[in-house]
Symmetry: C2
Subunit: 292 residues, 2 copies
Protein backbone atom coordinates (compact mmCIF):
# COMPACT_ATOMS: atom_id res chain seq x y z
CA UNK A 1 0.00 0.00 0.00
CA UNK A 2 1.17 3.50 -0.86
CA UNK A 3 0.00 6.57 1.09
CA UNK A 4 -2.55 7.45 -1.56
CA UNK A 5 -3.97 3.93 -1.53
CA UNK A 6 -4.45 4.22 2.20
CA UNK A 7 -6.13 7.62 1.83
CA UNK A 8 -8.47 6.28 -0.83
CA UNK A 9 -9.38 3.28 1.30
CA UNK A 10 -9.97 5.39 4.41
CA UNK A 11 -12.12 7.90 2.52
CA UNK A 12 -14.20 5.09 1.04
CA UNK A 13 -14.69 3.44 4.44
CA UNK A 14 -15.54 6.70 6.21
CA UNK A 15 -18.24 7.22 3.58
CA UNK A 16 -19.51 3.71 4.21
CA UNK A 17 -19.48 3.99 8.01
CA UNK A 18 -21.40 7.27 7.99
CA UNK A 19 -24.77 6.99 6.26
CA UNK A 20 -27.12 9.95 6.65
CA UNK A 21 -29.90 8.80 8.95
CA UNK A 22 -32.68 10.77 10.62
CA UNK A 23 -32.30 13.43 12.00
CA UNK A 24 -30.35 14.25 8.85
CA UNK A 25 -29.00 17.54 10.15
CA UNK A 26 -26.88 15.92 12.84
CA UNK A 27 -25.54 13.13 10.62
CA UNK A 28 -24.72 15.65 7.90
CA UNK A 29 -22.91 17.88 10.39
CA UNK A 30 -20.93 14.91 11.76
CA UNK A 31 -20.00 13.73 8.28
CA UNK A 32 -19.14 17.19 6.97
CA UNK A 33 -15.97 17.66 9.01
CA UNK A 34 -14.96 14.00 9.01
CA UNK A 35 -15.05 13.82 5.21
CA UNK A 36 -13.30 17.10 4.46
CA UNK A 37 -10.26 16.20 2.35
CA UNK A 38 -7.37 15.63 4.71
CA UNK A 39 -4.03 13.88 5.06
CA UNK A 40 -5.63 11.04 7.07
CA UNK A 41 -2.41 10.87 9.02
CA UNK A 42 -3.81 9.24 12.15
CA UNK A 43 -5.77 6.44 10.45
CA UNK A 44 -2.80 5.72 8.17
CA UNK A 45 -0.59 5.45 11.24
CA UNK A 46 -3.02 2.95 12.76
CA UNK A 47 -3.23 0.77 9.66
CA UNK A 48 0.51 0.89 8.97
CA UNK A 49 1.42 0.01 12.57
CA UNK A 50 -0.87 -2.98 12.42
CA UNK A 51 0.85 -4.09 9.22
CA UNK A 52 4.33 -3.33 10.54
CA UNK A 53 3.79 -5.67 13.51
CA UNK A 54 2.63 -8.49 11.27
CA UNK A 55 -1.12 -7.94 11.53
CA UNK A 56 -3.69 -7.71 8.76
CA UNK A 57 -4.23 -3.99 8.30
CA UNK A 58 -7.82 -4.59 7.19
CA UNK A 59 -8.62 -5.65 10.76
CA UNK A 60 -7.72 -2.13 11.87
CA UNK A 61 -9.91 -0.22 9.39
CA UNK A 62 -12.87 0.50 11.73
CA UNK A 63 -10.50 1.60 14.50
CA UNK A 64 -8.47 3.75 12.10
CA UNK A 65 -11.65 5.44 10.84
CA UNK A 66 -12.91 5.94 14.40
CA UNK A 67 -9.69 7.79 15.26
CA UNK A 68 -10.25 10.10 12.28
CA UNK A 69 -13.79 10.73 13.60
CA UNK A 70 -12.39 11.55 17.03
CA UNK A 71 -9.85 13.87 15.41
CA UNK A 72 -12.70 15.62 13.54
CA UNK A 73 -14.58 15.94 16.85
CA UNK A 74 -11.67 17.81 18.40
CA UNK A 75 -11.46 20.10 15.36
CA UNK A 76 -15.20 20.91 15.43
CA UNK A 77 -15.17 21.88 19.10
CA UNK A 78 -11.77 23.64 18.98
CA UNK A 79 -13.04 25.82 16.12
CA UNK A 80 -16.12 26.99 18.08
CA UNK A 81 -16.53 30.72 18.79
CA UNK A 82 -15.99 30.12 22.52
CA UNK A 83 -12.66 28.36 21.80
CA UNK A 84 -10.40 29.28 18.86
CA UNK A 85 -13.22 30.94 16.90
CA UNK A 86 -11.98 29.74 13.51
CA UNK A 87 -13.93 30.20 10.29
CA UNK A 88 -11.93 27.91 8.03
CA UNK A 89 -10.59 24.40 8.31
CA UNK A 90 -9.02 22.34 5.54
CA UNK A 91 -9.90 25.16 3.15
CA UNK A 92 -13.62 24.99 3.92
CA UNK A 93 -15.94 26.73 6.34
CA UNK A 94 -15.80 25.29 9.85
CA UNK A 95 -18.67 23.17 11.13
CA UNK A 96 -20.43 25.87 13.13
CA UNK A 97 -20.23 28.28 10.17
CA UNK A 98 -22.23 25.79 8.10
CA UNK A 99 -24.54 24.13 10.63
CA UNK A 100 -24.74 26.70 13.42
CA UNK A 101 -23.14 26.61 16.83
CA UNK A 102 -25.67 24.38 18.58
CA UNK A 103 -25.47 21.70 15.90
CA UNK A 104 -21.68 21.90 15.84
CA UNK A 105 -21.57 21.23 19.59
CA UNK A 106 -23.97 18.32 19.17
CA UNK A 107 -22.14 16.93 16.12
CA UNK A 108 -18.94 16.82 18.14
CA UNK A 109 -20.75 15.17 21.03
CA UNK A 110 -22.26 12.60 18.69
CA UNK A 111 -18.90 11.77 17.12
CA UNK A 112 -17.40 11.04 20.53
CA UNK A 113 -19.64 7.99 20.91
CA UNK A 114 -20.22 7.26 17.22
CA UNK A 115 -16.50 6.59 16.81
CA UNK A 116 -16.18 3.77 19.37
CA UNK A 117 -19.60 2.50 18.29
CA UNK A 118 -18.18 2.14 14.77
CA UNK A 119 -15.34 0.03 16.16
CA UNK A 120 -17.64 -2.29 18.11
CA UNK A 121 -20.09 -2.71 15.21
CA UNK A 122 -17.46 -3.52 12.61
CA UNK A 123 -14.73 -5.35 14.50
CA UNK A 124 -16.56 -8.17 16.25
CA UNK A 125 -14.06 -10.70 14.90
CA UNK A 126 -11.33 -9.15 17.07
CA UNK A 127 -12.98 -10.69 20.13
CA UNK A 128 -14.32 -9.12 23.29
CA UNK A 129 -11.04 -8.84 25.20
CA UNK A 130 -9.23 -6.99 22.45
CA UNK A 131 -12.22 -4.73 21.80
CA UNK A 132 -12.27 -3.74 25.46
CA UNK A 133 -8.57 -2.92 25.31
CA UNK A 134 -9.24 -0.68 22.30
CA UNK A 135 -12.12 0.99 24.15
CA UNK A 136 -9.83 1.73 27.10
CA UNK A 137 -7.21 3.23 24.80
CA UNK A 138 -9.89 5.32 23.07
CA UNK A 139 -11.44 6.66 26.29
CA UNK A 140 -8.04 7.55 27.67
CA UNK A 141 -6.92 9.46 24.57
CA UNK A 142 -10.27 11.22 24.01
CA UNK A 143 -10.81 12.24 27.62
CA UNK A 144 -9.74 14.56 30.39
CA UNK A 145 -6.35 12.83 30.69
CA UNK A 146 -5.85 12.99 26.92
CA UNK A 147 -6.69 15.52 24.19
CA UNK A 148 -9.03 17.45 26.46
CA UNK A 149 -6.26 17.97 29.04
CA UNK A 150 -4.17 19.43 26.24
CA UNK A 151 -6.93 21.75 25.07
CA UNK A 152 -7.75 22.96 28.60
CA UNK A 153 -4.14 23.85 29.38
CA UNK A 154 -3.79 25.39 25.91
CA UNK A 155 -6.72 27.71 26.65
CA UNK A 156 -5.29 28.59 30.06
CA UNK A 157 -1.88 29.28 28.58
CA UNK A 158 -3.35 32.09 26.51
CA UNK A 159 -3.26 34.22 29.65
CA UNK A 160 0.53 33.87 29.97
CA UNK A 161 3.06 36.33 28.64
CA UNK A 162 5.43 34.33 26.46
CA UNK A 163 8.80 34.94 28.05
CA UNK A 164 11.94 32.90 27.53
CA UNK A 165 12.96 33.33 31.17
CA UNK A 166 9.76 31.90 32.60
CA UNK A 167 10.91 28.48 33.73
CA UNK A 168 7.47 26.89 33.82
CA UNK A 169 6.62 27.58 30.17
CA UNK A 170 8.68 24.80 28.52
CA UNK A 171 7.00 22.25 30.74
CA UNK A 172 3.54 23.64 30.03
CA UNK A 173 4.19 23.71 26.29
CA UNK A 174 5.42 20.14 26.38
CA UNK A 175 2.26 19.15 28.28
CA UNK A 176 0.04 20.81 25.67
CA UNK A 177 1.83 19.17 22.74
CA UNK A 178 1.88 15.79 24.42
CA UNK A 179 -1.82 15.75 25.09
CA UNK A 180 -3.27 17.87 22.32
CA UNK A 181 -1.31 16.19 19.55
CA UNK A 182 0.80 13.19 20.59
CA UNK A 183 -2.03 11.46 22.48
CA UNK A 184 -4.05 10.90 19.30
CA UNK A 185 -0.92 9.73 17.47
CA UNK A 186 -0.23 7.29 20.29
CA UNK A 187 -3.83 6.10 20.19
CA UNK A 188 -3.48 5.32 16.48
CA UNK A 189 -0.16 3.53 16.95
CA UNK A 190 -1.09 1.61 20.08
CA UNK A 191 -4.43 0.35 18.77
CA UNK A 192 -2.77 -0.69 15.50
CA UNK A 193 -0.21 -2.61 17.54
CA UNK A 194 -2.85 -4.16 19.81
CA UNK A 195 -4.86 -5.37 16.82
CA UNK A 196 -1.68 -6.97 15.43
CA UNK A 197 -1.07 -8.76 18.76
CA UNK A 198 2.18 -6.86 19.37
CA UNK A 199 4.01 -7.54 22.63
CA UNK A 200 3.89 -5.16 25.60
CA UNK A 201 7.45 -4.11 24.80
CA UNK A 202 6.55 -3.38 21.18
CA UNK A 203 3.58 -1.30 22.31
CA UNK A 204 5.89 0.67 24.60
CA UNK A 205 8.38 1.25 21.78
CA UNK A 206 5.73 2.50 19.40
CA UNK A 207 4.30 4.74 22.12
CA UNK A 208 7.70 6.41 22.52
CA UNK A 209 7.84 6.79 18.73
CA UNK A 210 4.37 8.42 18.80
CA UNK A 211 5.40 10.82 21.53
CA UNK A 212 8.38 12.11 19.51
CA UNK A 213 6.43 12.15 16.27
CA UNK A 214 3.47 14.00 17.82
CA UNK A 215 5.64 16.73 19.30
CA UNK A 216 7.61 16.98 16.04
CA UNK A 217 4.35 17.34 14.10
CA UNK A 218 3.18 20.11 16.41
CA UNK A 219 6.48 21.99 16.13
CA UNK A 220 6.24 21.68 12.34
CA UNK A 221 2.68 23.05 12.56
CA UNK A 222 3.85 25.97 14.70
CA UNK A 223 6.59 26.68 12.14
CA UNK A 224 4.09 26.53 9.28
CA UNK A 225 1.85 28.99 11.11
CA UNK A 226 4.50 31.67 10.61
CA UNK A 227 6.00 30.59 7.27
CA UNK A 228 3.01 29.36 5.25
CA UNK A 229 -0.06 30.87 3.58
CA UNK A 230 -3.81 30.33 3.86
CA UNK A 231 -3.83 28.72 0.41
CA UNK A 232 -1.25 26.15 1.46
CA UNK A 233 -2.83 25.32 4.82
CA UNK A 234 -6.56 25.86 4.36
CA UNK A 235 -6.92 27.70 7.65
CA UNK A 236 -6.27 31.19 8.96
CA UNK A 237 -2.59 31.53 9.85
CA UNK A 238 -0.44 33.87 11.86
CA UNK A 239 -3.09 33.85 14.58
CA UNK A 240 -0.65 32.31 17.04
CA UNK A 241 1.84 35.15 16.77
CA UNK A 242 -0.90 37.72 16.78
CA UNK A 243 -2.41 36.32 19.95
CA UNK A 244 1.01 36.05 21.66
CA UNK A 245 0.15 32.39 22.01
CA UNK A 246 2.40 29.89 23.73
CA UNK A 247 3.86 28.01 20.75
CA UNK A 248 7.22 26.44 20.10
CA UNK A 249 8.21 29.21 17.70
CA UNK A 250 7.07 32.02 19.99
CA UNK A 251 8.95 30.51 22.93
CA UNK A 252 12.19 29.32 21.30
CA UNK A 253 12.38 31.16 17.97
CA UNK A 254 12.36 29.71 14.46
CA UNK A 255 15.94 28.46 14.41
CA UNK A 256 15.81 26.35 17.56
CA UNK A 257 12.35 25.09 16.55
CA UNK A 258 13.75 23.75 13.29
CA UNK A 259 16.71 22.19 15.09
CA UNK A 260 14.54 20.48 17.71
CA UNK A 261 12.12 19.27 15.04
CA UNK A 262 15.06 17.66 13.24
CA UNK A 263 16.29 15.96 16.38
CA UNK A 264 12.87 14.53 17.17
CA UNK A 265 12.53 13.14 13.65
CA UNK A 266 16.00 11.60 14.01
CA UNK A 267 14.85 9.93 17.22
CA UNK A 268 11.84 8.48 15.40
CA UNK A 269 14.09 7.01 12.69
CA UNK A 270 16.38 5.63 15.41
CA UNK A 271 13.49 3.79 17.08
CA UNK A 272 12.47 2.23 13.77
CA UNK A 273 15.95 1.03 12.95
CA UNK A 274 16.82 -0.06 16.50
CA UNK A 275 13.79 -2.35 16.60
CA UNK A 276 14.21 -3.37 12.99
CA UNK A 277 10.83 -1.94 12.03
CA UNK A 278 10.51 -1.42 8.30
CA UNK A 279 7.93 0.95 6.87
CA UNK A 280 8.25 3.09 3.77
CA UNK A 281 5.06 4.83 4.79
CA UNK A 282 6.44 5.99 8.15
CA UNK A 283 9.72 7.01 6.47
CA UNK A 284 7.77 9.15 4.02
CA UNK A 285 5.61 10.72 6.72
CA UNK A 286 8.61 11.50 8.95
CA UNK A 287 10.49 13.04 6.04
CA UNK A 288 7.45 15.12 5.16
CA UNK A 289 7.13 16.42 8.72
CA UNK A 290 10.86 17.23 8.81
CA UNK A 291 10.70 19.18 5.55
CA UNK A 292 7.32 20.73 6.32
Amino acid sequence: MKINDYIELIDKKLEEFMPINYPQKIFKAMKYTVTLKGKRLRPIMCLETCKMFGGNFEDAIPTACAIEMLHAQTLIHDDLPCMDNDMYRRGQLTNHMVFGEANAVLAGDALLTFAPQTILKNSKHLGAEKLLKIMEEYFHAAGAHGVIAGQVVDIESEKFEVNEDDEQLPEILDYIHTHKTADLFKLALRTGAIIANATEQQIEDITEFGQYMGVAFQIADDILDVTSTFEEMGKTLGKDKEAGKLTYVNLYGLEKSKKDLNELIDKCFDILSKHNLKSEIFEQILTKIRNN
Copy 2:
Protein backbone atom coordinates in the same frame (compact mmCIF):
# COMPACT_ATOMS: atom_id res chain seq x y z
CA MET B 1 -32.93 0.01 50.29
CA LYS B 2 -35.08 3.11 50.47
CA ILE B 3 -34.82 5.94 47.94
CA ASN B 4 -32.71 8.02 50.29
CA ASP B 5 -30.31 5.14 50.89
CA TYR B 6 -29.83 4.84 47.14
CA ILE B 7 -29.24 8.59 46.80
CA GLU B 8 -26.69 8.53 49.61
CA LEU B 9 -24.88 5.58 48.07
CA ILE B 10 -24.84 7.13 44.59
CA ASP B 11 -23.58 10.48 45.90
CA LYS B 12 -20.81 8.73 47.83
CA LYS B 13 -19.77 6.67 44.80
CA LEU B 14 -19.85 9.65 42.41
CA GLU B 15 -17.52 11.43 44.81
CA GLU B 16 -15.24 8.40 44.84
CA PHE B 17 -15.25 7.92 41.05
CA MET B 18 -14.37 11.56 40.39
CA PRO B 19 -11.11 12.61 42.06
CA ILE B 20 -9.74 16.02 41.03
CA ASN B 21 -6.69 15.31 38.91
CA TYR B 22 -4.55 17.64 36.81
CA PRO B 23 -5.67 19.75 34.95
CA GLN B 24 -7.86 20.56 37.95
CA LYS B 25 -10.08 23.00 36.09
CA ILE B 26 -11.55 20.33 33.80
CA PHE B 27 -12.07 17.77 36.56
CA LYS B 28 -13.68 20.40 38.77
CA ALA B 29 -16.00 21.48 35.96
CA MET B 30 -16.98 17.86 35.24
CA LYS B 31 -17.61 17.14 38.90
CA TYR B 32 -19.50 20.38 39.55
CA THR B 33 -22.59 19.50 37.55
CA VAL B 34 -22.49 15.77 38.29
CA THR B 35 -22.46 16.37 42.04
CA LEU B 36 -25.12 19.07 42.22
CA LYS B 37 -27.81 17.75 44.54
CA GLY B 38 -30.35 15.90 42.41
CA LYS B 39 -32.99 13.20 42.52
CA ARG B 40 -30.57 10.63 41.03
CA LEU B 41 -33.55 9.13 39.25
CA ARG B 42 -31.65 7.42 36.44
CA PRO B 43 -29.00 5.72 38.59
CA ILE B 44 -31.67 4.61 41.06
CA MET B 45 -33.61 3.10 38.16
CA CYS B 46 -30.52 1.19 37.08
CA LEU B 47 -29.76 -0.19 40.54
CA GLU B 48 -33.38 -1.05 41.29
CA THR B 49 -33.90 -2.83 37.96
CA CYS B 50 -30.82 -4.92 38.62
CA LYS B 51 -32.25 -5.87 42.02
CA MET B 52 -35.77 -6.45 40.68
CA PHE B 53 -34.45 -9.03 38.20
CA GLY B 54 -32.58 -10.90 40.90
CA GLY B 55 -29.15 -9.33 40.45
CA ASN B 56 -26.86 -7.82 43.04
CA PHE B 57 -27.44 -4.08 42.77
CA GLU B 58 -23.88 -3.39 43.85
CA ASP B 59 -22.68 -4.83 40.54
CA ALA B 60 -24.54 -2.01 38.80
CA ILE B 61 -23.10 0.90 40.80
CA PRO B 62 -20.42 2.00 38.29
CA THR B 63 -22.92 1.80 35.41
CA ALA B 64 -25.57 3.67 37.41
CA CYS B 65 -23.08 6.42 38.24
CA ALA B 66 -21.91 6.58 34.61
CA ILE B 67 -25.49 7.20 33.50
CA GLU B 68 -25.74 10.10 35.96
CA MET B 69 -22.51 11.48 34.45
CA LEU B 70 -23.99 11.18 30.97
CA HIS B 71 -27.14 12.92 32.19
CA ALA B 72 -25.00 15.75 33.59
CA GLN B 73 -23.20 15.96 30.24
CA THR B 74 -26.48 16.57 28.44
CA LEU B 75 -27.44 19.23 30.99
CA ILE B 76 -24.11 21.08 30.65
CA HIS B 77 -24.33 21.26 26.86
CA ASP B 78 -28.09 21.94 26.75
CA ASP B 79 -27.60 24.90 29.10
CA LEU B 80 -24.94 26.53 26.86
CA PRO B 81 -25.64 30.00 25.43
CA CYS B 82 -25.87 28.56 21.90
CA MET B 83 -28.55 26.09 23.05
CA ASP B 84 -31.06 26.86 25.82
CA ASN B 85 -28.92 29.61 27.35
CA ASP B 86 -29.83 28.78 30.94
CA MET B 87 -28.19 30.40 33.94
CA TYR B 88 -29.50 28.11 36.67
CA ARG B 89 -29.75 24.38 37.11
CA ARG B 90 -30.72 22.54 40.27
CA GLY B 91 -30.77 25.90 42.05
CA GLN B 92 -27.14 26.67 41.22
CA LEU B 93 -25.36 28.50 38.44
CA THR B 94 -24.97 26.43 35.28
CA ASN B 95 -21.58 25.04 34.34
CA HIS B 96 -20.63 27.71 31.80
CA MET B 97 -21.62 30.47 34.25
CA VAL B 98 -19.04 29.12 36.70
CA PHE B 99 -16.27 27.76 34.47
CA GLY B 100 -16.76 29.69 31.23
CA GLU B 101 -18.17 28.47 27.96
CA ALA B 102 -15.03 26.79 26.60
CA ASN B 103 -14.51 24.74 29.75
CA ALA B 104 -18.20 23.81 29.87
CA VAL B 105 -18.00 22.45 26.32
CA LEU B 106 -14.85 20.51 27.24
CA ALA B 107 -16.28 19.27 30.55
CA GLY B 108 -19.25 17.83 28.67
CA ASP B 109 -16.95 16.25 26.11
CA ALA B 110 -14.82 14.75 28.84
CA LEU B 111 -17.82 13.27 30.65
CA LEU B 112 -18.95 11.49 27.48
CA THR B 113 -15.90 9.23 27.63
CA PHE B 114 -15.23 9.43 31.38
CA ALA B 115 -18.60 7.78 32.01
CA PRO B 116 -18.01 4.55 30.05
CA GLN B 117 -14.40 4.57 31.27
CA THR B 118 -15.74 4.50 34.82
CA ILE B 119 -17.78 1.43 33.95
CA LEU B 120 -14.84 -0.44 32.42
CA LYS B 121 -12.48 0.45 35.25
CA ASN B 122 -14.83 -0.58 38.05
CA SER B 123 -16.84 -3.48 36.64
CA LYS B 124 -14.19 -5.90 35.42
CA HIS B 125 -15.87 -8.75 37.30
CA LEU B 126 -18.87 -8.52 34.94
CA GLY B 127 -16.75 -10.08 32.20
CA ALA B 128 -15.84 -8.81 28.75
CA GLU B 129 -19.01 -9.89 26.90
CA LYS B 130 -21.37 -8.15 29.31
CA LEU B 131 -19.21 -5.04 29.42
CA LEU B 132 -19.33 -4.80 25.64
CA LYS B 133 -23.13 -5.08 25.74
CA ILE B 134 -23.23 -2.22 28.24
CA MET B 135 -20.91 -0.16 26.02
CA GLU B 136 -23.23 -0.71 23.04
CA GLU B 137 -26.23 0.38 25.10
CA TYR B 138 -24.36 3.44 26.31
CA PHE B 139 -23.17 4.53 22.85
CA HIS B 140 -26.65 4.10 21.42
CA ALA B 141 -28.38 6.17 24.12
CA ALA B 142 -25.71 8.89 24.24
CA GLY B 143 -25.39 9.32 20.49
CA ALA B 144 -27.03 10.64 17.35
CA HIS B 145 -29.74 7.97 17.49
CA GLY B 146 -30.36 8.71 21.18
CA VAL B 147 -30.39 11.83 23.35
CA ILE B 148 -28.67 13.90 20.68
CA ALA B 149 -31.38 13.07 18.13
CA GLY B 150 -33.91 14.37 20.66
CA GLN B 151 -31.98 17.56 21.28
CA VAL B 152 -31.45 18.27 17.55
CA VAL B 153 -35.14 17.90 16.74
CA ASP B 154 -36.03 19.90 19.86
CA ILE B 155 -33.88 22.79 18.60
CA GLU B 156 -35.41 22.54 15.11
CA SER B 157 -38.93 22.48 16.54
CA GLU B 158 -38.40 25.94 18.01
CA LYS B 159 -39.02 27.30 14.53
CA PHE B 160 -42.54 25.81 14.40
CA GLU B 161 -45.71 27.63 15.33
CA VAL B 162 -47.44 25.46 17.91
CA ASN B 163 -50.82 24.75 16.33
CA GLU B 164 -53.22 21.98 17.32
CA ASP B 165 -54.22 21.41 13.69
CA ASP B 166 -50.70 20.73 12.45
CA GLU B 167 -50.75 16.98 12.03
CA GLN B 168 -47.00 16.47 12.14
CA LEU B 169 -46.49 18.07 15.56
CA PRO B 170 -47.68 15.18 17.78
CA GLU B 171 -45.26 12.85 16.03
CA ILE B 172 -42.38 15.32 16.36
CA LEU B 173 -43.15 15.91 20.03
CA ASP B 174 -43.25 12.18 20.66
CA TYR B 175 -39.90 11.83 18.90
CA ILE B 176 -38.33 14.54 21.07
CA HIS B 177 -39.66 13.04 24.31
CA THR B 178 -38.65 9.53 23.32
CA HIS B 179 -35.08 10.46 22.56
CA LYS B 180 -34.41 13.39 24.83
CA THR B 181 -35.85 11.77 27.92
CA ALA B 182 -36.95 8.16 27.53
CA ASP B 183 -33.69 7.00 25.93
CA LEU B 184 -31.69 7.67 29.10
CA PHE B 185 -34.39 6.02 31.21
CA LYS B 186 -34.24 2.97 28.94
CA LEU B 187 -30.45 2.95 29.16
CA ALA B 188 -30.66 2.83 32.96
CA LEU B 189 -33.29 0.09 32.95
CA ARG B 190 -31.74 -2.04 30.21
CA THR B 191 -28.23 -1.99 31.64
CA GLY B 192 -29.59 -2.81 35.10
CA ALA B 193 -31.41 -5.76 33.55
CA ILE B 194 -28.36 -6.88 31.54
CA ILE B 195 -26.18 -6.84 34.64
CA ALA B 196 -28.79 -9.00 36.41
CA ASN B 197 -28.74 -11.51 33.51
CA ALA B 198 -32.37 -10.80 32.63
CA THR B 199 -33.83 -12.61 29.61
CA GLU B 200 -34.35 -10.91 26.23
CA GLN B 201 -38.08 -10.81 26.93
CA GLN B 202 -37.55 -9.18 30.32
CA ILE B 203 -35.29 -6.58 28.73
CA GLU B 204 -38.01 -5.85 26.17
CA ASP B 205 -40.64 -5.50 28.89
CA ILE B 206 -38.55 -3.10 30.91
CA THR B 207 -37.76 -1.09 27.76
CA GLU B 208 -41.48 -0.60 27.15
CA PHE B 209 -41.84 0.44 30.79
CA GLY B 210 -39.01 2.97 30.31
CA GLN B 211 -40.63 4.40 27.19
CA TYR B 212 -43.91 5.12 29.03
CA MET B 213 -42.13 6.35 32.14
CA GLY B 214 -39.84 8.64 30.17
CA VAL B 215 -42.67 10.29 28.26
CA ALA B 216 -44.72 10.57 31.47
CA PHE B 217 -41.76 12.22 33.20
CA GLN B 218 -41.40 14.73 30.38
CA ILE B 219 -45.12 15.58 30.39
CA ALA B 220 -44.91 16.11 34.16
CA ASP B 221 -41.90 18.37 33.58
CA ASP B 222 -43.82 20.36 30.95
CA ILE B 223 -46.71 20.71 33.41
CA LEU B 224 -44.37 21.86 36.18
CA ASP B 225 -42.90 24.46 33.84
CA VAL B 226 -46.23 26.30 33.89
CA THR B 227 -47.43 25.49 37.42
CA SER B 228 -44.27 25.63 39.55
CA THR B 229 -41.85 28.28 40.81
CA PHE B 230 -38.12 28.83 40.54
CA GLU B 231 -37.70 28.00 44.23
CA GLU B 232 -39.37 24.62 43.79
CA MET B 233 -37.53 23.66 40.62
CA GLY B 234 -34.13 25.35 40.85
CA LYS B 235 -34.25 26.55 37.25
CA THR B 236 -35.85 29.36 35.31
CA LEU B 237 -39.43 28.43 34.47
CA GLY B 238 -42.14 29.59 32.09
CA LYS B 239 -39.52 29.83 29.36
CA ASP B 240 -41.33 27.17 27.32
CA LYS B 241 -44.55 29.17 27.13
CA GLU B 242 -42.68 32.37 26.54
CA ALA B 243 -40.74 30.87 23.67
CA GLY B 244 -43.89 29.30 22.16
CA LYS B 245 -41.99 26.06 22.46
CA LEU B 246 -43.34 22.72 21.30
CA THR B 247 -44.26 21.11 24.64
CA TYR B 248 -47.01 18.77 25.67
CA VAL B 249 -48.85 21.53 27.53
CA ASN B 250 -48.53 24.06 24.71
CA LEU B 251 -49.80 21.52 22.17
CA TYR B 252 -52.58 19.76 24.10
CA GLY B 253 -53.41 22.07 27.02
CA LEU B 254 -53.04 21.40 30.72
CA GLU B 255 -56.09 19.17 31.15
CA LYS B 256 -55.26 16.64 28.44
CA SER B 257 -51.63 16.67 29.55
CA LYS B 258 -52.64 15.62 33.06
CA LYS B 259 -54.96 12.94 31.68
CA ASP B 260 -52.31 11.48 29.37
CA LEU B 261 -49.74 11.57 32.15
CA ASN B 262 -52.11 9.55 34.31
CA GLU B 263 -52.68 6.99 31.59
CA LEU B 264 -48.98 6.50 30.99
CA ILE B 265 -48.34 5.98 34.69
CA ASP B 266 -51.18 3.44 34.75
CA LYS B 267 -49.51 1.60 31.89
CA CYS B 268 -46.27 1.47 33.87
CA PHE B 269 -48.05 -0.02 36.87
CA ASP B 270 -49.74 -2.52 34.54
CA ILE B 271 -46.41 -3.71 33.17
CA LEU B 272 -45.07 -4.23 36.67
CA SER B 273 -48.07 -6.22 37.83
CA LYS B 274 -48.47 -8.19 34.58
CA HIS B 275 -44.89 -9.44 34.83
CA ASN B 276 -45.09 -9.84 38.58
CA LEU B 277 -42.32 -7.31 39.14
CA LYS B 278 -42.27 -6.03 42.69
CA SER B 279 -40.55 -2.78 43.57
CA GLU B 280 -41.58 -0.28 46.20
CA ILE B 281 -39.01 2.10 44.77
CA PHE B 282 -40.58 2.14 41.30
CA GLU B 283 -44.05 2.45 42.84
CA GLN B 284 -42.90 5.49 44.77
CA ILE B 285 -41.23 7.08 41.75
CA LEU B 286 -44.25 6.51 39.51
CA THR B 287 -46.60 7.96 42.13
CA LYS B 288 -44.35 10.96 42.51
CA ILE B 289 -44.31 11.61 38.76
CA ARG B 290 -48.09 11.24 38.63
CA ASN B 291 -48.64 13.76 41.44
CA ASN B 292 -45.85 16.06 40.32
